[in-house]
Symmetry: C2
Subunit: 246 residues, 2 copies
DNA sequence: CGGACCATTGACCATAGTCAACCGCCGTGG
DNA sequence: CCACGGCGGTTGACTATGGTCAATGGTCCG
């Protein structure tokens, strides 16, 4: 398991130029770890949060709870992400956050964060930036679920997750662990579970990728990116070359 | 036409408690006005922005440009909104911003904004908050376009626009001017133009609302909100009662 | 061994996309 | 002044796509 400051400094300093003092301030952040079981909620729709979480291990997701009890998953969060940074300035949660598999997060009190922002504005800006990337990912999800075919949509999601996972050193070769079931995939992509299954079978048969038992295997990255119409600019990460995954 | 500081102070002080000095700083913001013709781009996907815009008049939208030339509209922006605040911390635009009808915006240099944030953190937090509400609206769009029927989806969009328009004093009685065509509606909601039309006809026949010639008329708000499964919490505005619109 | 849960598959059906024709309005130009 | 053309909206007929439902299989755990 990794520590909060390690994960945060790595993430934030990738794009924001943080001074020695900024980094020191981050290192002094007080946090309490919390372990979550599979499918356990970290925070629910309607709650008033006083902490923000940083993912240390596993995977979290955000979701809307619909009137009829169904879920709409909105995004997935890997180690280093802050899945509920928005709670900092919006009093009431408009969505829930839950663990996909077993997961560990670090909880940082809002007070603590606000104190740091006052002392070291650059840290605030860096986290602000993270929330903006978040928004960018949501925008892409709108487009993905509205304007793309089922195959492209599915491929795109896996592209994004693999790309982000790779940027965070979570991939092992051409594989990535994703504790997601077909039901959740359906509730993410806005398609019926049967369709998810058939679409995955289709993708498998193209030789571009396969997804089995919570493990994504990329067999042909350029092919997969093409099928998913994937252009990583919206992730605002350093450009990575994955063409060797063929 | 309204002035920048007027529009900004109104918007920001609705939720953030800004001190006298904060408001003074906002009043000193230097901006240049810019008029946009119908369908004119303010900024394009891939551009590197150095200004942020504040809508003064008319309506702007953000959209993704797809590989085949189609558009996916992501959000609409009314006077007081900052449709490209994200450019502050993300160097490259991952989407475009354009005027729907004729519109006027005020351009504020990023440098100027950053200077203010350094001097008056509360102003920064207030604008950060705006970008978080933005993100919340995107999340709702994901859910809307993925998990709701065509009717609900369409009704929900109009509910949101009317509610936000009402909060900004842009409604006249039960009407709101919306310079949007059926094609754009389709490219917003992820449905074919023919379906948009039929859905609108359906909504009209329920007596809940009608949309004609760029004018939305709400005939029965509770009914419309029910059809659209509309719950305004995600907008993080002061709660407004519209039940008198029957 | 039995049951729960998830994935898989097939058959059927509802829904919305496609295509094409038509309408109505508006602005232009003869 | 009217004729024409274009654009945006409207409508109908057909079709493709993906949702629904139901049955089966596989795996893990008690």
């Amino acid at each position: 398991m990794i520590s909060v400051d390690r994960v945060l400094t790595e993430k934030l300093s990738e794009h924001s130029r943080l001074s020695h003092d900024d980094l020191a301030a981050i290192r002094r952040i007080g946090s309490t770890p919390r372990e979550l079981g599979p499918n356990e909620d970290l925070i629910r729709q309607g709650d008033v949060p006083h902490n923000s979480a940083i993912v240390l291990e596993g995977m979290l997701s955000r979701y809307h709870l619909l009137a009829d009890g169904r879920r709409q998953y909105l995004s997935f969060h890997l180690p280093g992400d802050m899945p509920d940074a928005q709670g900092l300035f919006l009093t009431r949660m408009d969505h829930a956050v839950c663990a996909m598999g077993r997961a560990v997060v670090a909880l940082v009190p809002h007070k603590e964060l606000l104190r740091i922002f006052a002392a070291r504005p650059a840290v605030g800006f860096a986290i602000w930036r993270e929330t903006l990337i978040d928004a960018s990912i949501f925008r892409e999800a709108v487009t993905n679920n509205s304007a793309r075919t089922m195959v492209a949509r599915t491929a795109h999601l896996f592209c994004e997750l693999f790309y982000r996972g790779h940027a965070s050193n979570l991939t092992r070769g051409n594989t990535l662990q994703l504790p997601i079931g077909l039901t959740q995939l359906g509730e993410t992509l806005g398609m019926a579970i049967a369709t998810v299954n058939r679409t995955l079978a289709g993708l498998r048969s193209t030789g571009a990728m396969q997804f089995r038992n919570g493990e994504l295997t990329v067999r042909n990255w350029p092919r997969l990116a093409e099928i998913g119409e994937f252009d990583p600019t919206y992730l605002h990460l350093k450009t990575m070359d994955l063409t060797h995954l063929v």
